[in-house]
Symmetry: none
Subunit: 217 residues, 4 copies
Amino acid sequence: MANPAADAHEPATARGHRTRQKVLDAAEVVFGTRGYEAASIVDITRAAGIAQGTFYLYFPSKKAVFAELVGELGAKLRRTLAAAVADLDDRLTVERAGLHAFLGFVREHRNLYRIIRQAEFVDEALYRDYYSKLAEGYRVGLARAMTEGQIRKLDPEAVAFALMGIFDFLGMRWVLWEGKLPPQHVLDDVFALVRDGLGLQSSTFNARASNAPKRSR
Amino acid sequence: MANPAADAHEPATARGHRTRQKVLDAAEVVFGTRGYEAASIVDITRAAGIAQGTFYLYFPSKKAVFAELVGELGAKLRRTLAAAVADLDDRLTVERAGLHAFLGFVREHRNLYRIIRQAEFVDEALYRDYYSKLAEGYRVGLARAMTEGQIRKLDPEAVAFALMGIFDFLGMRWVLWEGKLPPQHVLDDVFALVRDGLGLQSSTFNARASNAPKRSR
Amino acid sequence: MANPAADAHEPATARGHRTRQKVLDAAEVVFGTRGYEAASIVDITRAAGIAQGTFYLYFPSKKAVFAELVGELGAKLRRTLAAAVADLDDRLTVERAGLHAFLGFVREHRNLYRIIRQAEFVDEALYRDYYSKLAEGYRVGLARAMTEGQIRKLDPEAVAFALMGIFDFLGMRWVLWEGKLPPQHVLDDVFALVRDGLGLQSSTFNARASNAPKRSR
Amino acid sequence: MANPAADAHEPATARGHRTRQKVLDAAEVVFGTRGYEAASIVDITRAAGIAQGTFYLYFPSKKAVFAELVGELGAKLRRTLAAAVADLDDRLTVERAGLHAFLGFVREHRNLYRIIRQAEFVDEALYRDYYSKLAEGYRVGLARAMTEGQIRKLDPEAVAFALMGIFDFLGMRWVLWEGKLPPQHVLDDVFALVRDGLGLQSSTFNARASNAPKRSR
DNA sequence: CATGAATGAGATTTCATTCAT
DNA sequence: AATGAATGAAATCTCATTCAT
């Protein structure tokens, strides 16, 4: 799990710290809009308001900032998701909250998709890591819910990837392409699908919706 | 709908046609392995066994081959899927056949993912088109199944994207990362999820399974 | 003095002759509008409506067509000028007729300037030849007029170049830049200058104008 | 009056300034000897003793240096001419001094002709500007001399272009082709032509000459 | 005679990275 | 710490010319 940014000069002063952060912030914007290859170091330093050479005081290479950026984005997303579902019990509520947090994150970091997808070409390990870690967190939650009998027993990793796929594509289709959260009926329908797909013992208030499956026409 | 490769010289002789095809074939391999940016025209022509300048007889730019490639891959995939489900009635069978065909296609065109994902950075329209057209075909099929009462009524586009997400991530996790089709139990579990998520009037033998969320692994 | 187009394949058939001429005509247009370097063989052959390879059936190189073109243009211009002043006696009339013919030629061959000026860079000898031959013809005429006492005795070559300069710049300023012949008063004034500059025994009807020099204000 | 070189990076340090100047100096030589198209950036940087990439620190393109060069040459020439005739009253003296300064400048900047002529193909506006500005300065001087009654009243722009033509061709024929100033008798004869052409109230000793078209050589 | 495919040298331009101040 | 000049490898694309049919 070698940190590719490990050999970056760590700033010694507070001023240095600020500069380093400016670079990272600028990098997110620039990589997100231009893409990894099209983004030049000058683009980044200009966006950060510093001189070209200064970049190399904090990062040994272009790849290194990018790697750190991907790592940070993944970690931040995982923290966000974890926080969003922290105190929730009901699995459907967890899923809803998770998706909601995810879509919100995407809206906040519109370049997330573009950055992650570029990661594949910069360093295969980077994007696998991103998805693997995300999936792993998801898998654990699902496995627990299965153990607790909230949802039926299925291969938790398979389910984790399947649900991630659903959410990912929702984010792409609506947040990324349209620039807004999916309309309510889309969310409702997707959750009907998820709920029944998971064989959720639809608790309380969801009950009436959950019986819908047998609507004929 | 403007074809970005429209200004490519159309070959006038059979020899020219062969050469043009050699370029396209080489491009798929090279773009797939190196990625769009890292792939150089020389890489392509070398792989195609022709001189550098010859490339420009058939494509006006690197971007143009790439665009044509993406278009072709999408079309071929759609044809493959359409053919795979052509004569099937039962919706779950359709889904199974569709996923099977998709995964097979991915295994055959390992670089599909990489190419599509790069498309986003080469020309936004390219990859949107790819997914949009795919989704549209899917949507139509789902809408018909809903009308026929095979599956419950949900927003068909939402479902199309959700299922595409599932399949896409399955392909990524197993075919792309592991290099082989997902194990049977993964497929089974995912289909249990899909089937019940869709509220499928599971015909015949699938009926009891849908009530049995208690499978071990 | 070597003819750079000497090694061009001379066409054997009438059809060949036509094709060769199509190339030359196209070349005048293309070189004139794009300039020698920017003009490509494909531009020429496309304009001529023939295939790329056909070009080399009639000219051994790009330089060769250009050289032939310059040679032809110069010869045609000299013929035009000679014809225009052929039967004239009065020197001022000769000058007038010469300028008139020159400006007409320029208007007909708008690219003359551009082609001649490019010639300098293609082959120094070409454009020197063009001007030298033109000047030589001029010089002879002037010398004769001096001998005959029509104009005062000055170095005829110097005068030839001076007058060529005048006419060249008139053509540039009005025909080339404005696209039309210079206004009458410009021509009149220039000829007043030429006439008195040459010390012309201004015959008959020009007499009154020739006294103008002493207009105070 | 958009400056085509406007987007060139302005150097921030003295060292940068020196380098930029080295490029310009080298460019004058290289463009002058090879011509615009034949001159490559490598030729220029090699002549300047810098690396290829350095060029682009100071000029955005080959065209841009060329444009700046033409602009500078024109300005320098105009300054030179203005200085040469600054304190002179007599118009013939002015013309003599002007031609002398012009020919001297040409001798100093042998590539002036080649550069200006190439300008036409690089950017039409460039060479028009060059001549227009030159003519404008000339026109103003002539108009004043006319008002003062030094020379007769003719269209000053027409005369400006005519005289520019004369001087230009003198420069071409002798300085450019022979590499030396025109022989004295050529200058004398041309000035006889100019003087009487302009109807100069030939002060003092020139008076009788103007009536004597019978000089031998 | 005519075609059009094929070649490959060469030109411009970009950019990550290093260096000197 | 910060700057900005300098480097030079590499990439895309053009085009005169040759070849095969």
